[in-house]
Symmetry: C2
Subunit: 446 residues, 2 copies
């Protein structure tokens, strides 16, 4: 620094960490710092340089910690934490029709239950290093307030079905609800409402097109479960004479503002379509495995430049919201299914959980990397435990050795929400009380 450069003010400086920027050059700064002003990253650089340049209102010690962008979970049904582990290891149809659907009809129709489930989900996500999630469920307009109160960042999508849902009447009525929700939350710094159609077998072409039109009018994301398993492909072929992907291409709803969730069963033409339309993909490896749906062709999608983000899906089929766990399983799964030790490398897995995930949901102008001008969403990870030593390669460590429980500090939008593994702004005992009460009722219903 020359003497003519003036000292700048920062609200927070995270000093002397191993900074994994995930910027275009994927810079890894062994002794780096990040300066935060308000809700934004003001600077990223060498620790000494930042120390000389910034006077910080608050300094957080980053020594022996990895500092990186917060993880982005691109597919959740967050309020379903109330159903965690309620029915496992049973056939898919029995699971869905005898357990999940009856439970949802009974308990998901009460928004208070979903608020409690959402609070629990956000606590779990923050403590495990996730700073942004893209959710599809019910009562999203009401749930926005829960997200806002916690300080978490989220994109919420009310699930559209042709038929009535636990939250509203389906079809036009749901579209009206979504339209109002988007308007209500417009320009909120943390919460964005977007549009989701549940799936091609539950939403008619007419309403899929109307939903995408609504998303276009509001310049927001449209998402849809797509090609999750062979049954779906067979069903859509029978109904519309095309694969689910081709069916949506014909409806002109695939573009870079669409997120296709799952994409397990893809033909070569489907891959071409997703690549050519720049459609984003949400990949949920653990759920795909647990429900025996298959291994999505992720290495091929990545080769074709498709933005594949990572989502845990709901905890009724996972059963956690742990992105560390998810990307480790993902990296192992594709090595097995591709019969190659080199695919979905640790570096690619970290990219998918950060910057590529941000691109998949159209948020990479705001988050996904540590760069000047982006929102200050970042996490500090301890590397001081036996399982994290030695550390030869930061990507290898993050994917194959480190765990969600190593996350020490979590900052969202410039706000410190987790410090030394403790939630600073949430009353966990109140959350637990609500959850225990709801779980008691659910147990009685089982």
């Amino acid at each position: 620094m020359t003497s003519s450069e003036k000292i700048l003010h920062a609200d927070i400086v995270i000093h002397d960490a191993m900074v994994l920027t995930m910027d275009k050059e994927r810079r890894f700064i062994k002794r780096g710092s990040v300066a935060i002003v308000g809700d934004e990253i003001a600077d990223v650089g060498d620790a000494d340089w930042i120390a000389a340049r910034y006077r910080a209102r608050r300094t957080i010690d980053g020594q022996n910690k990895i500092l990186m962008p917060g993880l982005i979970n691109v597919h959740t049904h967050a309020p379903m934490t109330i159903y965690r582990g309620v029915a496992d290891d049973i056939p898919l149809k029995e699971w869905l029709y005898d357990h999940i659907f009856p439970l949802e009809a009974k308990f998901s129709s009460n928004p208070e239950n979903l608020k409690a489930g959402m609070r629990l989900a956000i606590a779990e996500m923050l403590l495990s290093g996730t700073t942004m999630f893209k959710d599809m469920y019910y009562f999203t307009d009401q749930l926005g307030a829960v997200v806002a109160e916690t300080g978490m960042r989220a994109m919420l999508s009310e699930a559209l079905f042709d038929n009535a849902t636990p939250s509203n009447g389906g079809g036009e009525k749901t579209l009206q609800y979504i339209d109002a929700a988007i308007r209500n939350w417009k320009d909120h710094p943390l919460v964005q409402q977007a549009v989701a159609a549940h799936a091609t077998y539950t939403v008619s072409p007419e309403f899929i097109v109307k939903a995408k039109d609504l998303a276009r009018r509001h310049d927001t994301m449209f998402s849809v479960h797509l090609s999750e398993n062979q049954w779906e492909v067979d069903t859509i072929r029978e109904m519309y004479g095309a694969t689910p992907v081709k069916h949506l291409e014909r409806l002109h709803v695939l573009d870079r503002q669409t997120l296709a969730i799952h994409c397990v069963m893809l033909s070569d033409e489907d891959v071409d379509i997703l690549a050519e339309t720049s459609t984003g993909v949400a990949h949920s490896p653990q759920c795909n495995m647990k429900l025996a749906n298959g291994a999505a062709p992720v290495p091929e999608l990545l080769r074709r430049g498709v933005h594949v983000g990572v989502g845990t899906d709901g905890v009724a089929s996972n059963n956690d919201l742990d992105m560390f766990d998810e990307i480790r399983t993902m990296s192992l799964l594709h090595k097995l299914s591709s019969n190659s030790t080199t695919v979905v490398s640790a570096k690619e897995a970290v990219e998918m959980a950060t910057i590529i995930g941000a691109k998949a949901i159209g948020y990479d102008d705001k988050i996904g990397s540590l760069e000047k001008g982006k929102k200050a969403d970042l996490i500090l990870i301890n590397v001081d435990k036996p399982h994290s030593k030695p550390l030869y390669n930061v990507y290898s460590s993050l994917v194959y050795s480190l765990r969600s429980s190593d996350v020490d500090t979590v900052i969202v939008n410039g706000d410190v929400l987790v410090e030394q593994r403790q939630l600073l702004k949430m009353d966990l005992s109140g959350v637990y009380e609500d959850i225990e009460r709801i779980a008691h009722d659910i147990s009685a219903f089982l």
Copy 2:
């Protein structure tokens, strides 16, 4: 309790936990206690009954915790923690011949390096709920002292090759080393030495038979890497005109005192042979996936009554020693590979990590369940975090939601080794110093 029953003494009572016994009836006692006298479990039962019957020198509060047998890791190369993450995401042969073998020639030939690696491994295992591991590596006679000093339980096997190894001359010389090691550690309460032949492609039939004879003479386990991948099957077919399993059957070395490690590529006849000979199997799902070797036919082996335990393998190919992580991945993997949501259920996964694992290594008379007369190896697991709520089913929670970082207390042989997630008997800073020094040398060599 009637007044005539006398009050008994216990060294430790773990009071009022959710006790998962893993005994024959798989009893789950919602408010249970375990009394420990010396190195043994003296009683398991209802919390009030134990409280009335025992006066404890020390009481550990089990409220809101799951109490279960310590996890058994049936296949490790524990000292290889010094190579954690040193080479990932590269082709198998390059990984082995250009990285692992040269590193081992240089650094595994110094027993001091392996002692440091072993200490780090034991710290990691204890903190993640493992109370017993079966290891195959070098300098096992010297390493026994490291295990003993930590209070961990282990069965160590010096790896026999025809050729010289980093530790000794191979063939007869290694057999002599093993024979001496077994004698040196005979009757030690924690450490047992056993016999291992590395694999059918590195050990000639002559030495495989001699190794098994040595194991028989000492009434101890014989273990061998077996049918890990297609290359091995092809190689052994070419060398001996049989599958690796059939080859060993012809050598008469398969029986209930033999542990076959991996068993990924099995013919129907191979499965028959393993079942009929009561050979134990060590299953390492994460390593099999990471090295793209395949999915072992575990559901079929379990159906046939084969004792399949779970092992993490060495951290150069995993990259951790985390049994929670391992059994979750295992359960998901086999659902995918069998195209069935019901196989390798959460309950089976917990069985494999405890009582079935104990059977696989011939230790089920001593460990693997909480039963009167067995060794006091047990773990207490917190269920007070967002990701562990609600708790509808203890097996589901253990496998699909709980994490190694939830392990709070670890007792081995009646000795409290971990309390509130802290190691009580190990000097971690000294371990880290050694590891950093070795890792520095390894980095310079890369």
